[in-house]
Symmetry: D2
Subunit: 373 residues, 4 copies
């Protein structure tokens, strides 16, 4: 009978594969170019399943991640909040990670063992990543949990500091306890983006206290529904600039704050990573003068999944745009520059309005263009 | 703390509702018109969750059903096959139904308590619907299970009789045991459609043995992925012709074989229900002669989610079609009839090629058209 | 000043090329595979411009044809009907052809000199193609016009024999004059498809009298609007099976009746050309058994712009279809055949319902499938 | 015979109307709300046909305008440039207007008699609108033409002052002759937008010299192709704020500079018209606090065909946006404001980045929001 059931289990899932038209498929995969010295990895470090208060078995999370083209995900069930406990009494807090890891076997996806330390405020909720044994974090004292995480060399970040269940005004605010955690090296990052919210105050905290900038989905239901995938939406993620696509490299990158949060068409991060990412995203594919005129046609190819909104800061005016330029994702946009005389090279200068390095602050990029290239 | 967690649980799911563009939404809802004397109910009677070998919590099944516009679903976990048992050891086989029922509270969706009797062949797998207590079906003898179902006045049907794990040739075949079950009134229906398969042999068995024709999804993963919802796909369902939208009425309708299976653009059922359904789907919204000609313009409005493929059997030839006519779903199609002389009324006659009443047999409909209507 | 104006004329049209997203572009191009011994050429032999009663300058017709991916078009202005004469009194009836030819310079498009002989019934309207001098057809006597066309070795076909301005019942009917024209070799083809109409009676006439089957747009306004191009529509065309892509070869092919008319998803033609075209359109890209079952998965790649509607006539039943099979255009469709035992080869047999060889008559194709290919 | 041909002409165009799916149709119509005191009229004042160097008969221009939902168009053939003269020698320069007027009969579309005065630089090309007799403008001296236009009380504007055939650097520059024309009241407006180009220098000239801001298509080919209508593009137009929808009111509005040019998603105009238009476009449809929080949900309904790009200048930070907010056209967008305490009203303040009142200058709008509305 065991044999029969094994065959049955295989067959049930794979009886026949439905024919899938491809029109939507290739748009869903998230694509960002690498930057000099680092691989750009697309990661979601905040994910729930039925093993805490989510609505899917871990295998769905693996499939969603594959469809989204992610490089890594972290399973981060609530340690202390287990609403399905009556049905799923499993005592092992690493269980979700183990089930997910099995589902990911043979796939080019890294699965990280994490847990959401789920406390009242302060300190609220925090995710600890790269755990060896999540069970050891089941200690009552809030401070001790963080110390245990530290013992396991975990990377820890504050979740949704703007959460209206904790701060009714939605304004992220550090408490003394947070300051202590940061000072003692027990808290390393902060969610500037959680699910469908963004916190400019959290960004300021990250900058003031040298924390890693995080953006996560905190998904409980289905990614397809929560982020309107069929209409071109996407889950928020953290872009990690890692030396290699390994868990160790991701950890090292997180510890050294090499991240950008991607939310809607916003990129939120430190200028030292935003500038190279934007430069790698926007490539000049050609530059040539129109006929015998002094109007220079520059074609910019956007290799990334984000649409850019640029403000022209350059010395020359444009022939087909005001000073506001939209650069759709995965497409080539033509810009016509009136250079007054024919030049061998020009420099484009843009403020990147959809990118944020600090509250109300946008990075400026300069792109050197060789005519005739 | 309990209070906190309650608030947390509420907030986690509903922190903010994402903005949902509507372009795809209205197409997903399944719509079929009522027929004289009966409501047409869209039902999926074969559904799995994590409580047997599915990949979602029951709440996702409720949300999928609401998005699909279903009237009723049955939770039909495997009784004997529990691959998640190590994690979900819950001994109550009604548990999936209870959790789903709670999720459906306040929604216009009927949830039916069912179970999949999961046996080697014969008799293979069968679904028992309208159970009072699924646990009582946990008996070893295959025949006794059916008798227990009968005690509870369940409606029972044979699942995927074409399943290649049971019949490697995919050909549904009755065994002596099936004949006995049918004869003793223990088996009432048969899946002619399961997931992405159709069985013409099962249809013949239904007709030969007076069984109810069933079409189900047997969904284990996500409906959106399995049936390419963003590309216009749909799950297979059973259309039930019920006196009212109640569980009792559905049961009565199933017992009296008032069903049609909908799969792709196929409608499979008995002529006595197919004909009124097709007639109710295809309404003549106008009929008038073009100018002073003898060419009659007839506008046919398709009120259903199925696209029809018709063969013209009428006496008149068409001005803009050969004898093959496509009628897209939820749209109005114009047919131009060359009636030789101007008439006050005509009769359209079509063979409905996408509808099946028996293997290789398609129903014919006649539509009386009054000119000037 | 002349020089200036020349530059101006060039610049006006081409000042800057708008950026064109590509999503719609590649679907518009009409694609049909070649058949053994012949190239399959997509042609529209009935086209109007401002030079008779159309609404565009000939250059638009060239651009439309390029966008549609046509191989050849014929300019066929009305000889006797010149509603724009007050504005365009040009006496040369070859003028539209000359202007169009100039516009087509450097493009891979053949432009044929034609004219529409525009007479009351009988004989109604006819197109004469491959004219040397259209002006010589301006003779009063209806028979003499055809004789002049014959002198120029023109290919002549009867236009919209189902036109309700000539036959209010829309029923194509031969007159004595037509019989005489045919008998004397003055009339060689007949439009079975004109614009948005189809005539089964015209098809019968073509078969009875050995005439070439034609399908044309008879476009007066814009192709994009008349045929709903953005929604996936297409103009009706004549597929010509020619030895080479030259005017001479097209003429030879028309004279020898090697044509198919394409209208909506219908292909109308003689079996000797329909069968090889359908076979070349539907290629088996793989055939292998599912696991250890006797269910054979056959993938059929449709290389053409037409969607096929097939009826299964083969000995085996299907695992995922009834006997009605839709094969969308430019896509691969999987068919699952229940072959009872594992075979090294099978033969598929289909009636092609969207193809018509005679009124109410559809061709049958057989496709030999080698398993493992 | 004449009678026959008349019927023929009617029938040829209208034999049968093709079935048009509606999916694309409703998006094409241009919609802008009225502003206090004025109707907002969508107008294209620069249009060519075969009567100068365009490629369509005037009836196509009427149909394009109806599909675009325009209120008024001006026919503006080149007076001095007639490349189709060999074919269309018609001596009456009002002819295009007369043919277009006839085509527009019974339609809610105003057709204005205009002409393009087509001269070498200076003064380059200018459009004179509201002409009584265009023929009288066929005078050799460049200054005299403008005086004749003045005699007819025409409204005259400078076309494409950024045209690279006149200024190879694309930089609009006033000559002494232009200064004289302006000073003497012979030139009243200037194209800031022509076809697919925009000129920030022309905008500065308009502001410096009190000229009317114009945006026109200068269409020669097909609007559908030139502006990628199927992909959501639109032609550039001039929004005119008129007391009524009459030619006289449009003329009065143009004379009093009550215009905005719409190009891509840019609105270019004087602040006194931009501010009320933006306010009328962006309506607060609801404003209420989320649960018991201090996060205010404000739903903004965009009633216009333009997508807005806003920069938040208000005192409060946002819960789901950075300071950059995209407001798609014809949709409702939710903004979440963190108001620190619950308020009865708030004021939104935005810089409208896609609107331009002067080079590099964007208007600011304030929207008073009553909570609970």
């Amino acid at each position: 009978m065991k044999n029969l059931l094994f065959i049955f289990a295989m067959a049930c899932g794979h009886l026949l594969t439905a024919q899938t038209p491809h029109s939507h498929a290739h748009q869903r995969k998230i694509v960002f170019p690498d930057i000099p010295g680092y691989q750009t990895l697309s990661c979601d470090f905040h994910i729930h399943t039925v093993f805490s208060d989510g609505s899917v078995w871990p295998d769905i999370r693996i499939q969603e991640a594959m469809k989204d083209g992610l490089d890594a995900i972290a399973m981060t069930e609530h340690l202390e909040y287990q609403p399905h406990k009556a049905d799923i009494p499993h005592p092992d807090r690493n269980r979700s990670y183990h089930v997910a890891t099995e589902s990911a076997e043979g796939k080019d996806l890294l699965v990280i063992n994490g847990s959401e330390i789920t406390r009242n405020m302060p300190p609220g909720h925090s995710n600890a990543l790269f755990l060896e044994d999540a069970n050891k974090l089941l200690v009552e004292d809030s401070l001790e949990v963080f110390k245990e995480a530290q013992k396991q060399d975990a990377f820890v970040f504050w979740n949704h500091p703007n959460w209206t269940s904790h701060y009714k005004d939605g304004m992220a605010k550090l408490t003394d306890m947070h300051l202590k955690l940061i000072k003692e090296g027990l808290l390393h990052g902060i969610e500037v983006v959680n699910d469908i919210t963004y916190s400019t105050e959290a960004l300021q905290i990250a900058l003031d206290h040298n924390l890693t900038i995080m953006g996560t989905s905190d998904i409980h239901g289905l990614v397809d529904w929560q982020y309107d995938i069929p209409d071109g939406g996407h889950r928020p993620i953290t872009l990690v600039f890692a030396k290699e696509k390994t868990k160790a490299s991701i950890k090292e990158a997180l510890q050294n704050r090499r991240t950008i949060a991607w939310f809607r068409d916003y990129l939120i991060g430190r200028e030292e990573f935003l500038l190279p990412l934007i430069r790698a995203s926007l490539l000049v594919s050609s530059a040539s003068y129109k006929g015998d005129t002094q109007v220079l046609s520059i074609k910019i190819e956007n290799n990334s999944s984000v649409a850019y909104t640029l403000e022209n800061l350059g010395e020359f005016s444009l022939h087909a745009h005001t000073d506001l330029i939209d650069i759709p994702h995965h497409a080539t946009t033509e810009i016509l520059l009136k250079t007054l005389e024919r030049r061998a090279s020009v420099e484009l200068r843009f403020k990147v309005l959809n990118a944020v390095t600090a509250p109300k602050t946008h990075p400026e990029i300069r792109i050197a263009v060789k005519v005739g290239e």
